[in-house]
C-alpha cells in the first residue's frame, strides 16, 4: 500500500513537471512569435553591398541618370545636363548624417585627385524634412546648416540643395548617404547606399571614368 502511494506520488510529480514544462514552453514560443510578428512590421534598414539598392527603390544601374535642376547655396540653378560628357559622382547627403560626415573628407580628396582627370562630384543635400516651397523660415534654417557643414568640411565641389525633390527619380533616397556613379555618356554604372570605404568609392569612380575596362 505504502509502495503504491509512493509510485502514484512520483507519477504525479512527473506528470506535473511535464505539464508545467509544456505550458512554459508554449508561453515562451507564443511570446517569441508575437515579438517576431511585431518586428516584421517595424522599420529596417536593409543591409547593402556596393551596387545594391533597396527593394523599395528601383535600381538605376545601367540606366541614364535622371536629369534634374536644383539650386546651389547662392540660389543659382544647376542642371545635371550641364555636366554632359563628364564622369560624375552624385552624392546625396544630409547635415545630420554621421556616415556622411565621415565620407565627406574622402570625397574632397577624391575630387582633388580625380578632378583633373575629368571627374565631377555633385553633393546634393537631402535633409528629409520635405519643406514646402513657401516655407522661408525652414529653407533659411536648412541653408544655414548646409552652409556651415560645407564650410567646416571644406567641400570645394558642387553642392546643391533640396535632394528630397529627387526621391522618386533616384530610387527613394530613404537613407543617407546614397552615391550614384555616372559615366561620361550619362549612364549610371553603380549605385551605393551607405558608407563603405574610400577604396570602394575609387573603384566605382574608375569604372565611371572607363578605366580598367
Amino acid at each position: 500500500m505504502k509502495r503504491n502511494t509512493i509510485v502514484i506520488g512520483i507519477t504525479f510529480v512527473i506528470l506535473a513537471t511535464f505539464a508545467w514544462a509544456g505550458w512554459a514552453n508554449w508561453m515562451y514560443r507564443k511570446q517569441a512569435a508575437e515579438h517576431a510578428l511585431a518586428s516584421a512590421s517595424r522599420a529596417e534598414l536593409i543591409p547593402v553591398t556596393p551596387g545594391d539598392v533597396p527593394d523599395g527603390g528601383a535600381s538605376l544601374t545601367g540606366k541614364p541618370a535622371p536629369n534634374f535642376t536644383l539650386e546651389d547655396l547662392s540660389g543659382k540653378k544647376v542642371s545635371l545636363s550641364s555636366f554632359k560628357g563628364k564622369p560624375l559622382l552624385i552624392n546625396f547627403w544630409a547635415t545630420w548624417c554621421g556616415p556622411c560626415k565621415i565620407e565627406t573628407p574622402w570625397l574632397v580628396e577624391i575630387q582633388n585627385e580625380y578632378g583633373p582627370k575629368g571627374l565631377q562630384i555633385i553633393g546634393i543635400s537631402t535633409e528629409g524634412d520635405d519643406l514646402k516651397p513657401d516655407d522661408k523660415e525652414g529653407w533659411a534654417h536648412d541653408k544655414t546648416a548646409i552652409a556651415k557643414f560645407v564650410k567646416e568640411e571644406h567641400m570645394q565641389y558642387t553642392v546643391l540643395i533640396n535632394g528630397d525633390s529627387l526621391a522618386t527619380e533616384y530610387g527613394g533616397l530613404d537613407a543617407m548617404p546614397t552615391s550614384v556613379y555616372v559615366d561620361k555618356d550619362g549612364k549610371v554604372v553603380a549605385m551605393q547606399l551607405g558608407i563603405s570605404s574610400k577604396e570602394d568609392m575609387e573603384a566605382h569612380i574608375r569604372k565611371a571614368m572607363g578605366e580598367g575596362q
Binding site: T11, L15, F18, A19, A21, G22, N25, W26, R29, K30, A32, A33, A36, L37, A38, S39, A40, S41, R42, A43, E44, L45, I46, V48, P54, D55, G56, A94, T95, W96, C97, G98, P99, C100, K101, I102, E103, E127, G128, D129, A145, F149, D174, A175, M176, P177, L193, G194, I195, S196, S197
Partner: protein, 171 residues
C-alpha cells in the same frame, strides 16, 4: 490486481503520449515564421503605458517605455556632436497635460566601423524616459511626440517624429 496494474500502466503511457503530442503541437503552431516585410515604418516603437492616472495639478512621474528596432540606434538626448539630432519628448500645448520635465537615460558609447575613433552617444534596444506630467482634472487623450533620428552602422534614416498616445487621467 495484475489487470488493475496493467490498466494503470496503460493509462500512464497514454497520458505521457498525450502530453508529448500536445507539446509538439504547441511548438508547431507557433513556429510559423511571419512573412518578412521590408516596408519602412517606424524605427522606434512606443511600448507603454497606454493609460496613467495621476493626481490633478501635481507634477507626477510617468515612465515612458520605448523600443528601438534591432540593428538601429538613435542619438541620445545629449549627442556629443552639435550636428546630430537629439532625441526629444514633448507634449503638445492645450492637451490638458503639461510636461513639467523629462529625465532621459544616459546614452551608451557607440562607434561606426568607418570611424572607430569617434564615440557617439546613442540609445539602442529598450529605453525609458522619466517624464513629469501635470494634468488638469479629467480624462485627456494626449498625443505626445518623440523626435529622433535613427541610423545603422552605415546609413541613416531622416529625422522622424512619432506620436506617443497616452490616456492621462487627472484625479
Amino acid at each position: 490486481m495484475r489487470a488493475a496494474r496493467k490498466a494503470g500502466e496503460f493509462l500512464l503511457i497514454c497520458t505521457f503520449v498525450t502530453i508529448a503530442c500536445a507539446n509538439s503541437l504547441c511548438q508547431e503552431s507557433l513556429n510559423t515564421s511571419p512573412g518578412r516585410s521590408l516596408v519602412k515604418t517606424e524605427a522606434v516603437e512606443y511600448l507603454f503605458p497606454e493609460q496613467v492616472s495621476i493626481p490633478a495639478g501635481k507634477p507626477s512621474p510617468v515612465a515612458l517605455h520605448f523600443r528601438i528596432h534591432q540593428n538601429l540606434h538613435i542619438n541620445s538626448h545629449t549627442p556629443r556632436a552639435e550636428y546630430l539630432i537629439p532625441t526629444v519628448f514633448s507634449v503638445p500645448e492645450a492637451s490638458g497635460v503639461k510636461l513639467a520635465g523629462a529625465a532621459y537615460p544616459a546614452g551608451t558609447d557607440f562607434t561606426l566601423p568607418a570611424d572607430p575613433d569617434e564615440k557617439l552617444s546613442v540609445y539602442t534596444g529598450d529605453f525609458t524616459i522619466q517624464a513629469k506630467m501635470v494634468a488638469t482634472p479629467g480624462n485627456h487623450l494626449v498625443e505626445a511626440k518623440l523626435r529622433y533620428q535613427a541610423c545603422d552602422q552605415t546609413q541613416c534614416l531622416p529625422p522622424k517624429t512619432i506620436t506617443v498616445p497616452i490616456d492621462v487621467i487627472g484625479k
